[in-house]
């Protein structure tokens, strides 16, 4: 480990996340400085109506740009929130499954614990599959007719 770059053994506390915050600040500085540089060094010309109009392949722009778009996009966002939470539920389960932290519950063998955890997740995922199947049958994910 190179001491110059400040490597230390992590202590699994909030201190571990300090570099993430530092990185956030540095990344924001990188982005801001690049925007600033081109603003400072680029040429300045007067705005004109052609330059200020939205690009529509050289034809005069028609109507509002913020038009209505398909409700399917909202539907996908709502479904995403639902299913993403289910996916996040898998993470702690997976870590316990492989890592074998037996929180006080006594099982005869490690295999018995793992098989119990598997059966529980099987039930959970079957319910999840039912929900997913319903969404598909409702044609919530079909884009052809939208």
């Amino acid at each position: 480990m190179l001491p110059l770059l400040g490597g230390v053994i992590p202590d699994n506390g909030p201190r571990d996340y300090l570099p993430v915050f530092l990185l956030l600040i540095v990344a924001a500085a990188v982005a801001a400085s690049q925007l600033l540089i081109s603003w400072l060094l680029g040429p300045k010309t007067k705005p004109n109506p052609v330059k200020d109009s939205p690009y529509e392949c050289g034809i005069e722009p028609t109507g509002e740009a913020h038009t209505r778009f398909s409700v399917k996009f909202y539907l996908v966002a709502v479904l995403f929130i639902l299913f993403d939470i289910e996916i996040v539920f898998l993470y702690p389960w997976a870590v316990h499954f492989g890592g074998g932290v037996e929180d006080g519950v006594v099982f005869a063998t490690r295999g018995a614990l793992v098989r119990f955890l598997f059966a529980e997740m099987l039930v959970f995922l079957l319910i999840l599959f039912l929900g997913w199947y319903w969404v598909v049958k409702k044609k919530a994910l079909d884009w052809e007719e939208a």
Binding site: F80, Y91, G98
Partner: protein, 330 residues
């Protein structure tokens, strides 16, 4: 205090120089490789083999006029490129790119990557909205729907890794693979799902619908120019680097080699960094290779693939892996 200063130096080197530098080289490599695939030469005039081309491009970006068109929402228009670049840089924080050299070695590891990289969708969708143009808006909503859809499969395809290793920490996953062999040999289907989803997450062909130039001009960054456009571009390439780094770390042994044990100390760190660089170079090449091999998907095909094939398939892989472990554990 020395710890903070040392970390800060480390971060400035990685986020201020190494990642943007690698992204710049990647832009050059993409143009050269695509040229060779199409049987032409590509940029070869600036510097040896055109290697200084990215610097020339950068100078050009800097000295172009910083246009803020009259029709845009000014605050969001300026903010969006930064909001796109910052998560791209921060998402790299937990990747161990050489032995003991992750910026932040936290025990939630990959969960942090997903948490941060999912913020990247805001940069793209806000950019599309702020542009106040029809193409931008369509590109923005397409991009946000696509990125969140494939996040499901991406998130679920990593779960088999945690099932086998029992840790979210990246160093622990690398150590497990050093002892037991690369995870791709155990979890090949999971890796395929991960790879396809990561292409969709980075908006790369065959899933570059948000900027499909034949229908949307340039998608969400149609109204952007000069350095602001460059920031979107840079963010996309840094996302590619992070996606390759995750693929290498989770499935291909990270910075370690099979059979050969790298020496300890500073030399080991340097060598492991080179091993890691070699591995991600292959995946970055794959990104470019796929781009010039596969045609673009249609939008409904893209959504069908994500929701009806990859998402259930990833859950089946999770169940299969768990069942396999449940069977073999005594």
């Amino acid at each position: 205090m020395t710890y903070v200063l040392g970390k800060l130096l480390h971060i400035v080197i990685v986020a201020g120089a190494a990642l943007p530098g690698l992204a710049a080289v990647l832009v050059w490599a993409e143009r050269r490789v695509s040229a060779f695939i199409q049987d032409r030469l590509g940029p070869n005039r600036v510097g040896p083999a055109g290697l200084l081309q990215p610097i020339a491009d950068l100078l050009k970006f800097i000295f172009k006029e910083d246009v803020i068109p009259g029709h845009v929402n000014k605050t969001l228009y300026v903010l969006a490129p930064a909001m796109s670049l910052v998560p791209a840089l921060v998402a790299f924080c937990v990747v161990p790119y050489a032995r003991g050299m992750a910026i932040a070695d936290v025990n939630v590891g990959i969960l942090l990557v997903f948490a941060i990289s999912s913020i990247a969708v805001y940069g793209v969708s806000i950019g599309g909205w702020a542009g106040n143009s029809k193409y931008s808006l369509l590109g923005g909503v397409r991009a946000s729907a696509q990125m969140i859809s494939y996040e499901l499969a991406l998130g679920a395809s990593c779960v088999p890794v945690f099932l086998v290793v029992g840790e979210l920490n990246m160093e622990a996953i690398v150590a497990w693979q050093k002892a037991n062999g690369w995870l791709v040999f155990y979890l090949f289907p999971a890796w395929i799902i991960f790879l396809v989803s990561s292409y969709a997450e980075t908006n790369r062909l065959p899933f570059d619908l948000p900027e499909a130039e034949t229908e949307l001009v340039a998608g969400y960054h149609t109204e952007y120019s000069s350095m602001k456009f460059a920031l979107f571009f840079l963010a996309e390439y840094i996302h590619m680097i992070t996606a390759s780094a995750l693929s290498v770390t989770l499935f291909f042994g990270g910075y370690e080699l099979p059979w050969v044990t790298l020496p300890g100390g500073a030399w080991g760190t340097v060598l492991s960094g080179l091993v890691f660089f070699g591995k991600i170079s292959f995946f970055l090449f794959l990104f470019i290779w796929v781009r010039w091999t596969l045609p673009r998907f249609r939008y409904d095909q893209l959504m069908n693939l994500g929701w009806k094939i990859l998402f259930p398939a990833s859950l089946v892989v999770v169940l299969a892996t768990a069942g396999w472990i449940a069977m073999v554990t005594p």
